[in-house]
Each structure stands twice: as structure tokens, then as C-alpha cells.
């Protein structure tokens, strides 16, 4: 990197637009489109006996009503199982509209299209669906033991069962190791459901161009390229006739990587059929009951360790609640099982998970994607060991750390990308040292004593994690310098507020030696870039960042070659600074990049003064070779792809000090400290923003958020009134320190940062409450009412 832009806390260029209401979100588009609305199942488990739409037919403004029986060909099939896996022996997905059976409250049964959303909902209210109720299967343990089946052909409600085992260095299996260990502990941990809950829900807006036989779809998605392929396949359209654009997207956090959602194929289909623009904007209740949740697991832990707290063997058995369907495969429990060892060298490790169907909303990745559960398990285990041995909690962690000289470190597991889980780099002892200093770990006992003297209860907690980021298979970047000197960057993955317009521009500006203002960035628009995977798994900076850097390097090489010709210099002597290509050390010998762009594209026709300089009588050409030399292309542009050998592993450690009210059991976070290592930082301000947002969601998961299902499979808190997303008033100030251990795996030496903040929060808060209260905390989230009950039970 030659210029300062890379690594600078550049202010986010998208913020003035987004913060002043000038964003263009899905519902801001298509003001004249017809509106779709859905009749959704009010029952968790039922057979559909009859659908009577007659009462709705008289509604003024009604355009169409569709049920499963109306769906043609491939639309009538179940939606795709996106990530098949050999262990997922009984993967099941939903139909776009329910066929004969509904398996969770909120499953779409009927689609109504009408003049506007009000009318569409009026019509929905008049449609009568006759259900025969079945016994709902709710709760993962109940489901694992229930004779009642969510899917008739899935025995025991088990969708998948998977074991990974790493024996000890001496070849003993985990159970033997634990039997022989000087100390053993066994316990159970529980984590409840939460969800991504982006402030903008899902949404689809489709325009069919009958004259051109082409379809344009706008979707609030994390993957426009894959939605495009899915829509083309489901509707039987040639791929070049479908374009999909992710406009401004108001948060994704995982739920919008799932695709195609029923609405993503139904709305375009209706638009084609009706030859009218059709739009559907998800409302909050729909989002709660018909998109996706995550987190819920029950974990059974057995651990054997020595006198210093060294883990000799760890065995974890996980019941994972998958909800009614498995469109995203078993990525979440795979990540839980493989990221569970964290920064530690475990003597031996065995993990088994069963992924269980229940009559609840399906479970797909939510920021953290199985890691918060993994870290909760591992870090609760570390605290238990420390407690058992009477050791400092950080000392137990330190004795188990993988050391800096041990990288690359092979955990012996197969990761979510099907590749070996090998940590590329990290410095865990240094992270812990920094964290202890930041939070004042060593002076805390005295602080705790002083507080106790005042009748106050405070406690400190700690949690460590390692996060596989930048998962493949690939991303690409396209960079074009136009004759006005502007640099147009595009990449196929999408943006949901991460600051890509800034971070990617910083990379391009630094690589090309141009001012940041000249660089513009487009993401998630298949018209601009057709090959991409999507934005998830903390991968955008690593994948597209590196692809854009590589594409810029191609452009730079070409620019220097053309400029060398024009300046009669050796390309190796040239530099690009501030948009000028110049001979190093020779003032005056320079040519603007804009002119290089002109020269790169020999023209017959002039349309402005710049273009005239590239036309055939302008005199610059050599007659010894064709205007575009063999193997070359017109234009100053480059395209490249980054496809990593495997994921790169970021890491971090958090600590918190909490206060619990001795009388009311209210829990307050007094301080929250983060040490974060995501390799080289492109923009520390953006990384800190990501951490703050992640911690905020983590606080939600630790103290506030849960999905409250009753025994009938009804979600009792499907609104922001009762699903308690924390407000700014509940989120503590986050103190952050960065450690930069570059990744050796990619040209920029970067690692992902998107999910990091959320991952250890439940573990950290549980650790701190336990320290304050002296009561084991095995279940998260925890409310004051629950803490009150724990106190009663303990006394």
C-alpha cells in the first residue's frame, strides 16, 4: 500500500445520504406498484382442508388471489435446500405457498394482489382457510422425544446428526481422556431464540417488461446474484433476461442471505402474470413469524482437566432447534461445533449435534451464526474450571491458549466451507494482556470489595472467541477508469449498512493513487457485476476487498504501460499520485490518469474534446501494430476475483463489569471492553462501528431478547413492544482496543469484522453476573425476574 487512505478512519461517505432520509429502500421504490399481502397460518401445525376466497372477491381494488394450486411447474415445488450436507439426511424446505400442511404460525398460505396494501389486507381478512389442527411440536427437547412428527417422513424429528472427534495426541478418544483426567465436570447449558430483526424487513418489487421479455427484481437481500439465479430457474427465464438489484438495505444480519424467500419468487411471478408492477413489503409481525430465527440450543458438556485448568478432553452434545424447515442446511450447528474450541488447544474434543425439527419459525444464520452458542459453551466451561480449582479465570484461559508460534494451527475439524479448520494467525496472549489492562482486571477485586462495603454488588466477566471469516468460494471486483478520471468500482456482493461505499473506495483509491472523491462504488446490482456469492459470514471486506485490490492492480499495470508509452519512460519508473501518472523523481514528466483512460480506448468517433484525442487522425498511434494490440482490450478497466484457500480467523476478547441490584435484581452493565484482532484495518472507525453494533445485539441476546413460544406454537411476543431489542439507553459505552495480526492468506492481510462484536457477549455477561452473585448462570438470556428466582432457589 502506498498511500495513507488504507487504514485511515475515513468518515463513512454513505452516512449523509442515509442519515438524512435520502436512502432508497425497497418500499421507497415502486410507488405505483400493485401490493401483495399474504394470508398466513394462524396455527403451528395443521392440515389445510379448504380455502374459501369467495368473500374476498367483492373487495374493491382486488386484482388476484393465488394459492398453491395456482402455482405452475417449478414454483409448485418446495423451495431449494441451499446448502446440502451428507449429515443432513432429512432436509426439508417449504413450498412458496403451503401445500396441504402448515408447520409454523406465519407460513404463507394465500397471496393476494390488490391496488394497495390496505385493500390487499382487507381481502386477506375475508379469506377463510379451514384447518384441521394437529398437535404442535414445540421445544427442542420435547421434539426430540415426541411421537408427534413435524414432517411425517422424518423419524424422531431429527433432520441431521453429526459427530466430529479429535482424539488426544496419544490417540485416546475423548471419553477415555475425560475418565482419566484429574478433574471432571458435567453440566448443561441453555440458550434461547433470538433473531436478526433488521429495522427494514424483507421486501420484493418486480417489474416485468413484456416488450423485452425481461424481468427486473429489487429485493432487500444479502445476495442479489443468487436471487437472480433462483428467480430465473424458478420462473424458467433465461438468466440474461433477469436482473436483480439490492437497493439500500436497512440491515440484514443473516436473515436476508436466505433465498429465494417465497415472496422473492411469487412477487416476480405475479408481476409477469399480471403484466403489472407488484411489490411486497414485509411488516414487523410478518418478520417475526415468517422469516427466520436463531440461537436456540441445549448443550450437555463433559470436561476433564488437570490441576492448572488445562483442558484434557471436552465432550459436547448439542440439541439444535432447527424450526420447521432447513433451507440453509445445517450451517449454524456446524459452526457451533467447529468454533467451540475458540483460542484454545484442547487435549481431545468430541462434538455431536442433533438438528431437530419443531413447529416454529425456521432457524438460519443470525449474526454470529452459531458462534455465540459455541463461545457461551466454551467460556462457561473455562469459568467452571476456574471456579472448581480456585484459580483466576484469565489464568485458566491463558494456560489453554494456542501460542503465537503455533500458527498455522490445525484444529483437526472440518469447517462450514467443507475445508480443514486451520487458524492462519493470531496472538491470544497479547489480546488477553491488553484486555486485562483495558478493563483493569487485576485491580477489580479491590473495587468489588469497596462496592460491597457500600452495599453494592458488582462482578467482572470475560470471554474469548475465534471467528472464521472470509469464507469462500469467491468474490470479484471490477474497476473502470473513465476518461473524466473517475474510478468506478463494482462488486457483486450486497451492502446493508456496512460502509462498503467507503471501505472499498479506500482500497481502490490507495491502490490506484487517486483521491477518494473520484472513486464510486456499486454493490449488489447484477447489471454491474454478475458473479458473486453474497454478504454474510464477515466476508465482504476480505473477499470483495481483496478482489477489488487485485482488479485495481490490473488497472494500474495497464495504466502504467500506456503512460510509459506516452511518456517514453520505463513503466517501472512510474508512480501514480493524486490521479497523475508521473516519472518518479522527474518533475513535469506526468500524464493524468484521465488521459491514460482516453488513450486506452482508440476511437473512430469524437463526442467531446477528450474523445477527440483518441480518434484515428489525432496522430498518436503507431502504425506498426493494430489500434488494440493482440491480447489487449480497449478501455482502462480490470476485473479480478479472490478465491481463498480457506477462511481467515479473526479473534477477540471482551470483558464487562456489571452491577446487580440486591433488591430489585436489575442488571446494569457498568463497563464493556473489547480487544479485537481482524488483521490489518482498512478503516478503524468502521471496524469500531461494527463492534459497537455487534455488542449492542449481543447485549440484546444476553439480557433482553427471546422468542416466547407457548405450548401451542404461538409466538407471544411478535412485536417490538414485547420483543425487547435494547435501546441506546440499554447499550453500554464500548471501550475498544485493536490488535492487528495480519492474515497471511490474502493480499491485504485482512480478516472479517462484521459479526465479531456479538459473539462473546452472552458468555461475558453471564460470567460477570455469576461473579457478582455467586450463583451459577447456565441459561441465557437472563432477566431480572429470572435472577430473582435464581436468588430464591439459591438461598
Amino acid at each position: 500500500m502506498t498511500t495513507k487512505l488504507f487504514g485511515e478512519p475515513v468518515r463513512r461517505r454513505e452516512d449523509p445520504r442515509l442519515l438524512t432520509g435520502r436512502g432508497r429502500y425497497l418500499d421507497d421504490l415502486g410507488r405505483d406498484a400493485l401490493a401483495a399481502a399474504f394470508v398466513r397460518s394462524p396455527h403451528a401445525h395443521a392440515v389445510i382442508r379448504d380455502i374459501d376466497v369467495s368473500a374476498a372477491l367483492d373487495v374493491d381494488g382486488l386484482v388476484a388471489i393465488y394459492t398453491w394450486e395456482d402455482l405452475p411447474d417449478r414454483l409448485a415445488e418446495p423451495l431449494p435446500l441451499l446448502i446440502p450436507h451428507p449429515a443432513l439426511t432429512h432436509g426439508r424446505t417449504a413450498y412458496p405457498l403451503a401445500r396441504e400442511r402448515v408447520r409454523h404460525v406465519g407460513e404463507p398460505v394465500v397471496m393476494v394482489v390488490a391496488r394497495d396494501r390496505y385493500v390487499a389486507e382487507d381481502a386477506c381478512a375475508l379469506i377463510r382457510v379451514d384447518y384441521e389442527l394437529l398437535k404442535p411440536v414445540v421445544g427442542v427437547e420435547e421434539a426430540a422425544q415426541s411421537a408427534q412428527l413435524v414432517h411425517d417422513d422424518v423419524p424422531g424429528n431429527v433432520g441431521a446428526r453429526m459427530v466430529q472427534e479429535v482424539p488426544s495426541a496419544g490417540g485416546l478418544d475423548v471419553r477415555e481422556v475425560i475418565e482419566d483426567a484429574p478433574h471432571t465436570l458435567a453440566f448443561r447449558l441453555d440458550i434461547e431464540r433470538s433473531a436478526s430483526t433488521p429495522l427494514e424487513g424483507r421486501g420484493v418489487y418486480a417489474r416485468w417488461d413484456a416488450d423485452d421479455s425481461s424481468l427486473r427484481v429489487y429485493s432487500s437481500t444479502q445476495t442479489s446474484t443468487s436471487v437472480r439465479m433462483a428467480v430465473a430457474a424458478k420462473l424458467g427465464l433465461p438468466l440474461p433476461k433477469v436482473e436483480v438489484i439490492a437497493p439500500d438495505v436497512g440491515g440484514g444480519f443473516g436473515v436476508k442471505i436466505v433465498h429465494p424467500w417465497p415472496e422473492e419468487v411469487l412477487v416476480p411471478w405475479a408481476a409477469m402474470l399480471l403484466n403489472r408492477e407488484v411489490k411486497w413489503t414485509e411488516d414487523r409481525r410478518e418478520h417475526f413469524v415468517s422469516s427466520a430465527h436463531e440461537r436456540a440450543q441445549v448443550q450437555f458438556v463433559r470436561v476433564g482437566f488437570d490441576d492448572e485448568g488445562r483442558v484434557l478432553g471436552l465432550e459436547v452434545t448439542i440439541l439444535h432447534d432447527h424450526g420447521a424447515y432447513t433451507p440453509y442446511g445445517i450451517i449454524v450447528p456446524i459452526i457451533t461445533s467447529t468454533q467451540l474450541p475458540g483460542p484454545y488447544r484442547l487435549g481431545a474434543y468430541r462434538v455431536e449435534f442433533s438438528s431437530i425439527y419443531t413447529n416454529t419459525v425456521q432457524v438460519t444464520p443470525y449474526r454470529g451464526a452459531g458462534r455465540p452458542q459455541a463461545v457461551f459453551c466454551m467460556e462457561r466451561t473455562m469459568d467452571r474450571i476456574a471456579d472448581h480449582l480456585g484459580l483466576d479465570r484469565t489464568a485458566v484461559r491463558a494456560v489453554n491458549f494456542i501460542q503465537p508460534e503455533e500458527f498455522p494451527y490445525d484444529q483437526g475439524l472440518i469447517f462450514q466451507d467443507g475445508r480443514p479448520l486451520i487458524y492462519d494467525s493470531g496472538d491470544y496472549p497479547e489480546s488477553l494482556r491488553m484486555l486485562k489492562e483495558l478493563i483493569g482486571w487485576d485491580s477489580f477485586p479491590a473495587e468489588k470489595e469497596r462496592a460491597a462495603a457500600e452495599g453494592r454488588r458488582i462482578g467482572i466477566g470475560v470471554g474469548c472467541y475465534v471467528e472464521g471469516t472470509g469464507v469462500g468460494p469467491y468474490e470479484g471486483g471490477h474497476v473502470q477508469v473513465t476518461s473524466d478520471g473517475r474510478v468506478h468500482v463494482s462488486t457483486g456482493l450486497t451492502s446493508q449498512g456496512q460502509g462498503h461505499e467507503t471501505a472499498f473506495a479506500q482500497i481502490a483509491a490507495a491502490e490506484l493513487g487517486v483521491p477518494l472523491e473520484r472513486v464510486s462504488v456499486v454493490t449488489g446490482d447484477t447489471r454491474r457485476f454478475g458473479y458473486a456469492v453474497g454478504t454474510f459470514a464477515s466476508r465482504a471486506a476480505v473477499m470483495s476487498g481483496n478482489a477489488i485490490a487485485l482488479a485495481c492492480r490490473k488497472v494500474r499495470e495497464k495504466a502504467l504501460r500506456i503512460a510509459a508509452d506516452a511518456l517514453e519512460a520505463d513503466p517501472r519508473d512510474l508512480e501514480i499520485t493524486d490521479g497523475m501518472v508521473h516519472v518518479a523523481g522527474t518533475p513535469g514528466a506526468a500524464i493524468p490518469l484521465a488521459t491514460v483512460a482516453v488513450l486506452s480506448n482508440p476511437l473512430r468517433y469524437a463526442f467531446d474534446e477528450e474523445a477527440a484525442r483518441a480518434t484515428q487522425f489525432a496522430g498518436a498511434a503507431s502504425f506498426d501494430r493494430p489500434p488494440v494490440p493482440e491480447g489487449d482490450e480497449p478501455g482502462l478497466e480490470g476485473r479480478d476475483y479472490y478465491s481463498p484457500i480457506r477462511s481467515t480467523f479473526a479473534s477477540g476478547m471482551h470483558a464487562a463489569i456489571v452491577e446487580t441490584d440486591p433488591l430489585t435484581a436489575e442488571i446494569r452493565i457498568l463497563r464493556y471492553a473489547v480487544v479485537h484482532d481482524c488483521g490489518n484495518l482498512i478503516n478503524p472507525m468502521i471496524v469500531e462501528g461494527q463492534i459497537h453494533g455487534g455488542v449492542a445485539q449481543g447485549v440484546g441476546g444476553a439480557l433482553y431478547e427471546r422468542m416466547v413460544y407457548d405450548g401451542h406454537g404461538q409466538l407471544l411476543n411478535a412485536s417490538f413492544m414485547d420483543f425487547l431489542m435494547p435501546y441506546a439507553t440499554e447499550v453500554p459505552h464500548v471501550e475498544t482496543a485493536h490488535l492487528e495480526t495480519p492474515s497471511p492468506l490474502n493480499p491485504l492481510g485482512i480478516k472479517g469484522a462484521g459479526e465479531a462484536g456479538v459473539i462473546p457477549v452472552s458468555a461475558v455477561i453471564a460470567s460477570a453476573i455469576e461473579d457478582a452473585e455467586g450463583i451459577p448462570i447456565d441459561k441465557m438470556p437472563i432477566s431480572p425476574s429470572e435472577l430473582f428466582d435464581l436468588r430464591r432457589a439459591a438461598s
Binding site: 389486507e121 435484581a665 433482553y704 435501546y727 439507553t729 432477566s783 425476574s785 428466582d789
Partner: protein, 310 residues
């Protein structure tokens, strides 16, 4: 999340509003700040045939501080009342409670009178009105030529046409969860919160899951001292402790003693014993009952301290 069809009325005068309310009776709902009604409509939990939007009745926007108390018009927003220095001086419990009502953006739109008429037993203002012994003034269309009852106050409401007003005391106003004495055809035009007596103090303590949420439990307290600075009366009103705000007079439990030696713990137990909290997804009834005791004691002690300082 779109309301079912309704007819929208935007009357320009109280008389016009009362005409619509009289004509439509139970089919009509009054829209003031809309902070509760609009979500109910959007979730199709309420489906009134007629919405009577009173936001153009600017005559109802006043916050009048009178020697004996504060009269708050139906269009006065929470934020306005919260910011009013004269109102806070006359009755500090108003500001103490309003700071706990939702968030600034909600308080900018929501109205004090609207909150009273909504009669949510988890809300702060019904408890405040109950504790202070305030009242709500209701107006309705009278028959032709009927002289306006309570003629001294009729001009507060509007001119033109005849209508009947009645003042309903807080004790009779809250009749059940989300139920008040305001009948079909009636418009709550104002509420009256009595002023703080001399040598007295108030406090509001609550525990909510998040800042601004409806409280899991909350207690408003009023303590009055005599010239010797002994307690002559002490009472609390609790939120989320039953179907309507729970008023408990604890003067006896406190004893005719100075605050420093008052029987606060006994008073708190008495309040706890009277409470009928319920389980919900956020907290158990047992925890709420415990909280009511803790908060009652804290609120009473705070109120007594205020009384001594005042």
C-alpha cells in the same frame, strides 16, 4: 399492519367533534396523539368505523396552572407538560412521572389526557391521577336548548351549541384494564391534577425492562407532613398491580412519626399485600409483588425526603 377501513373526521370545533361522537356512539374513536390507537389499528386489534381526529381543536391544548392544581387540556402533549415549569412547581409528580413515560418521540406526540382515557393499568399517568385525587372532565352533546352543566367551566370547552360536561373523579374514572368511565359520545376535554399541599413530597419509582417500557412494577408516593414535620398522611398508587391503578393509604402503617423513624417497611408490606400483579412473559407475579414492596418503600422514603426539603 394496515388498519381496516374507517371514516375519518377532522372537526374544527368541540361542538362539531361532539356531534360526530354523538352520531356514531360506540363506532367512533377519538384520535389525539395516536401513540396507542394507531398501533392498535395497524394490528387490526381495533376496528372503529369512525376516527374523530381532535388535533385541530387547538383550544384544548392548554396547560393551565391554577392555585389549586394543574388543568391539562386534551391536546397537551406529554412533552409540553413535562417541560412546563409552573406545572412542575405546582405538582412535581407530573414531571417525575412523565420522565418515565416511553421516550421523547412518543412524548412529543402522546397526550396526557389520551393516556388517561386509554386507562392502561401499566401506565404512569392513571396512577398519578389516582394518587392525587384528580379528575377527568368529559363533554357530550346535550339536547337542543339544554343548558350546559357546570356552566362555570363550559366556556373552557368551546362556544357554539350546547353540551354537557361532567367531572369524574379518578377513583371512578378507571373502571378496568383499558376501560374508563368515558362513555360513547363523550370527549375527555381536560384533566385536573391537584396541586401539592404544603410540607408534602412526591416520588415515582419503577422498574421497567428497558428505559421507557411499561413498568414491571411502579409506585407513586405522596407524603404529607404536619407543622412538627411528622407524617400526617402517606399514600401510594401502583402501576401493573391490578386491573386499575392501586391506591393504598399507608398513613396508619407509617405512624404519626417523623420520616426518619416512620414504619416504611410495614407500609411497603401493606402495599405488597394489596397488590394483585400477574405473570406475563417479562416477569412472574411473585417478582412483581416483591418489586412493589421494594419500590413502595423507596418511593415513600423519597417522597418524605422531598417533603422535608420542600
Amino acid at each position: 399492519m394496515k388498519p381496516p377501513p374507517f371514516d375519518y373526521h377532522a372537526p374544527r370545533s368541540v361542538a362539531e367533534a361532539l356531534d360526530v361522537l354523538a352520531a356514531e356512539g360506540e363506532r367512533a374513536k377519538v384520535l389525539a396523539g395516536g401513540q396507542s390507537l394507531i398501533p392498535l389499528l395497524n394490528m387490526r386489534l381495533a376496528a372503529p368505523g369512525h376516527l374523530v381526529d381532535i388535533n385541530r381543536l387547538t383550544g384544548l391544548a392548554g396547560v393551565e396552572v391554577e392555585p389549586d392544581g394543574v388543568r391539562i387540556g386534551a391536546l397537551a402533549r406529554h412533552a409540553e407538560v413535562e417541560r412546563s415549569e409552573p406545572a412542575a412547581a405546582a405538582q412535581p409528580l407530573l414531571r417525575q412521572a412523565l420522565g418515565l413515560v416511553a421516550h421523547p418521540v412518543v412524548r412529543n406526540r402522546g397526550t396526557v389526557v389520551g393516556s388517561l382515557v386509554h386507562a392502561d393499568p401499566a401506565a404512569e399517568l392513571p396512577a398519578v391521577l389516582t394518587l392525587l385525587g384528580g379528575s377527568v372532565r368529559l363533554a357530550r352533546r346535550g339536547g337542543p336548548g339544554t343548558p350546559a352543566a357546570g356552566s362555570s367551566t363550559a366556556q373552557d370547552v368551546a362556544a357554539g351549541g350546547s353540551f354537557v360536561v361532567r367531572d369524574v373523579a379518578a377513583g371512578e374514572f378507571f373502571t378496568g384494564p383499558l376501560e374508563s368511565a368515558a362513555g360513547p359520545g363523550e370527549l375527555a376535554v381536560s384533566a385536573f391534577f391537584p396541586a401539592l399541599p404544603p410540607r408534602s413530597g412526591t416520588a415515582f419509582r419503577e422498574v421497567a425492562r428497558r428505559h421507557g417500557d411499561y413498568a414491571l412494577a411502579g409506585v407513586a408516593a405522596l407524603v404529607v407532613l404536619d407543622d412538627d414535620l411528622r407524617i400526617t398522611s402517606a399514600a401510594v398508587a401502583c402501576v401493573s398491580a391490578g386491573p386499575v391503578p392501586l391506591l393504598v393509604d399507608v398513613t396508619g402503617e407509617c405512624g404519626h412519626r417523623p420520616p426518619a423513624s416512620a414504619g416504611w417497611a410495614g407500609a411497603a408490606r401493606a402495599v405488597q399485600d394489596r397488590a394483585e400483579p400477574e405473570d406475563d412473559i417479562h416477569a412472574t407475579a411473585g417478582y412483581r409483588r416483591h418489586l412493589i414492596g421494594v419500590l413502595a418503600e423507596r418511593a415513600l422514603r423519597d417522597a418524605a425526603r422531598e417533603a422535608l426539603n420542600g
